[in-house]
């Protein structure tokens, strides 16, 4: 079964709804590496990542009946949302997200767009994970999950302006990290 094929994916969903153990296993093997990356962008501690993924999968399994298949990619989109939501819940559980600003090197960003192309994905991934919780969370939601500041504000129960300023700082910090990667002698950070 090729989950990339819409028909097969629909069949997989149908089997999952029937509680088919093989289908569960297949969903897991197909998507777990991707979901791990999603989760680990939000949650840094590896034990926590495991916990959140486990909980996410349980919710995916228990909630599959409510999932309305809307074509190719919709299953992946939905399980991503569940996972992100679980990660956010984890981060918020002990109010672990600190939105207080830290000093960010504030220099000439005008024309110097960071060069991302030559950086391996794993390195980008690592840099994102190095961002402070508040920056990282909002950067992930805004840039990668394509949430608006309004959505983020309501999701995290913060002001839109907080979301915007955190994103701004996150971008500066990440850009700084990227430059430092290209030029390790830089002392920006």
């Amino acid at each position: 079964m090729m989950p990339d094929e819409p028909d097969n994916e629909l069949r997989l969903v149908s089997l999952l709804r029937q509680g088919d153990p093989d289908a569960m296993r297949q969903l897991y093997t197909t998507h777990i590496r991707y979901l791990t990356a999603v989760c680990a962008r939000y949650v840094v501690n590896s034990e926590d990542v495991k916990d959140v993924l486990q909980e996410s999968f349980l919710k995916i399994m228990s909630g599959i009946a409510s999932f309305g298949y809307r074509g190719k990619g919709s299953l992946r989109g939905w399980i991503t949302k569940v996972t992100v939501n679980e990660a956010l819940k984890h981060l918020q559980r002990d109010k672990r997200i600190d939105f207080v600003g830290i000093s960010v090197p504030d220099h000439d960003q005008a024309d110097t767009e960071p060069d991302v192309d030559s950086i391996p994905s794993a390195e980008l991934f690592r840099m994102i994970r190095e961002l402070p919780d508040g920056y990282r969370t909002i950067f992930n939601l805004y840039v990668i999950e394509n949430k608006s500041h309004r959505e983020i504000a309501s999701l995290l129960n913060i002001k839109e302006s907080t979301s915007a300023s955190q994103l701004h700082r996150a971008k500066l910090l990440l850009a700084s990290k990227i430059r430092q990667y290209h030029n390790p002698l830089s002392t920006n950070i």
Partner: protein, 419 residues
Amino acid sequence: MNEDWLHKIHDRMSEYETDAPDRLWEAIEEKLAPAAGGQRPARRRTILIRVRRSLAAAAMLALAISLCFYLLDGNKKTDLRPMMSAHAPTASYPTQHDVPSGIISKQPASIQAPQPTPTAVTSEKILAEVTEQPHGTADTSSTGHSTMPAAIPVTDGNDSLSTHSVERAHTSSPLPVRRGAADNRRKIGQSARNLSIAMFSSGATGSMSTRRSPAYLSGAPLGADYASWKDTPMLGLMLFNKGRRLDTKVRHNIPVRAGITVDYSLNRRISLESGISYAYLSSDITEGSDHNYYEGRQRLHYIGIPLNIKYRILSWGRIGLYASAGVLAEKCVSARIEKHFIFDHVPNGTTTESLSERPMQWSVNVGAGLQCRLAGAARLFAEPGVSYYFNDGTKIPTVYSDKPLNFNLNLGVRFTLGE
């Protein structure tokens, strides 16, 4: 800064994969097993735990007695103002747990009513006249305050006086000083007309029930992509609990009812009574599985109209005994439920829903009343009774739907107008 690099990061990270944690699948399988086993059809079971009936009755009796002493004492001084001011602040409608204080607050408030009635209508010692309301089902309406004033017009020709007094009671303003009210109150009793007004408060019994039923959860719409449970916590609740046994626990608090009635004597023994009542029913509802559930409070406000016939059995001295039977029609005017969702022991949003159903609740009741003349035109009455609440045809759980037959105790003060 140009945003292209962010788009690139978006594209790269959207596809990025990394190794899964060790033994994750095993851990998931372990957790899935019991859930899969739990997919048997949920059983439906209802357990009624009737509690607090005797507690409530005892509390009310104690209140009645203490109030009696209180009133007697107050009447000697013929100065009710201190009482009013002391109690008026509590005159707002009590929450369910406040039943006792609610009663207290209303009764002192009602005391004011007599004072303005100096001019009045005539009346003899109408021991048989009772203004009680059949405890009907409760209905919602946080508009409780308005019911009292609204009730007043029922008072026939004497309404202007009583209206004033009642309004004052609610606004906690000082007692009206009217034409030597206190003095007049002592001159009563000779005439023989038959109108009286009463204010009462009553409580009945609470109850608790537990049921297991997946059906109760079936109302919410299901769709895709509801990963943000904060927006639709009820949906999240349903999803997370799929295949698990769901419990619904409902604990009904003691219903509270208050109102004003007027009765009119047809002859020496028989009188008709009607008026308006307000009732408040609240229930604490917990629904879901052990880990994912909501804790809710359902609040129903009712406005009702009672119609009773009373028969004076006997009277001696200050004491009178009568029997009463009648119906109560109550309309739910407000029905809300506030739900606090808990997923895995973590609060996950609160919703407040206004229930679309506004049941009409009918009930019949019989009771026996004991009335004690305090001083002047005021009489304290206690009226234990039994009421039967008919099915209101809705799914809204109330203390009455769980327990149609209720014992209740109405307490109040009655003023015979025109004495």
